[in-house]
């Protein structure tokens, strides 16, 4: 993990895309508000559990545990977007509709760090576990690429 504490050496931004896992991207929102909507959606749609990741100051991602179809996925995200009136989430939701799958960032982006898990609730064995497993793969890629770049820098100097 120590390799990730330094700055990401690349321009690229890596994310995880999935159409069966319900994911949310809240911008400019307090943790309390994100938790409220995650809890409410989890209960209303029986999503079993969720994790909240802090992507940067006042920006959070939510990943739910129960696997759903793409149409149900978007029904849930639309419901939360509409009721929470979160502009950032609504914009993100529209972009995911265009793409046909949901994506959340797992690498640093400009001055924003790697999103980290700040809250867990309920079951974690399905969608959440899968997301975290893919996140681990992507993190390993970043660590390997960081060391690769450092090696090349050392060769040139």
């Amino acid at each position: 993990m120590s390799g990730l504490r330094g700055k990401w050496n690349h321009y690229s931004i890596l994310g995880i895309t999935d159409d069966e896992t319900v994911m949310l991207d809240f911008d400019n929102t307090s943790f309390k508000w994100v938790k409220y909507w995650a809890m409410r959606a989890c209960g209303w749609f029986k999503l079993e559990g969720f994790i909240i990741l802090k992507s940067s100051e006042k920006n959070y991602h939510v990943v739910f545990n129960r696997k759903v179809s793409w149409s149900e996925n978007m029904r849930i995200v639309a419901w939360i977007s509409l009721l929470s009136r979160n502009k950032g989430l609504t914009k993100w939701f529209l972009m995911q509709c265009i793409k046909g799958a949901s994506t959340l960032r797992v690498s640093p982006k400009k001055d924003k760090p790697v999103p980290r898990v700040v809250f867990r609730y309920g079951s974690q064995g399905n969608g959440v576990a899968e997301f975290l497993a893919y996140r681990k793969i992507v993190r390993n890629i970043m660590v390997r690429m960081d060391s690769h770049v450092l090696e090349r820098k050392q060769e040139t100097t």
Binding site: Y11, S12, G15, D25, I137, I141
Partner: protein, 63 residues
């Protein structure tokens, strides 16, 4: 160096090792468009999905 404004994105799927190799290659091949491809296929023929180049600055609105 010639500068062009482009847009695009790679979406890779496949095994961990292939994903790593695809991500490394993706830094050398700029996406031709919004590309979804298996990492294995991309490694075999990266030129089919992107063209050789280098990002010099980048703006990403959202993921």
């Amino acid at each position: 160096m010639k500068k062009v404004v482009g847009k695009g994105r790679y979406e890779f799927y496949g095994k961990g090792r292939d994903l790593y190799r695809a991500v490394v290659l993706a830094h050398k091949y700029m996406p031709k468009d919004y590309v979804t491809v298996s990492a294995e296929k991309f490694i075999e023929h990266p030129e089919s999905y992107g063209f050789v180049g280098e990002w010099i600055e980048r703006e990403v609105e959202s993921l």
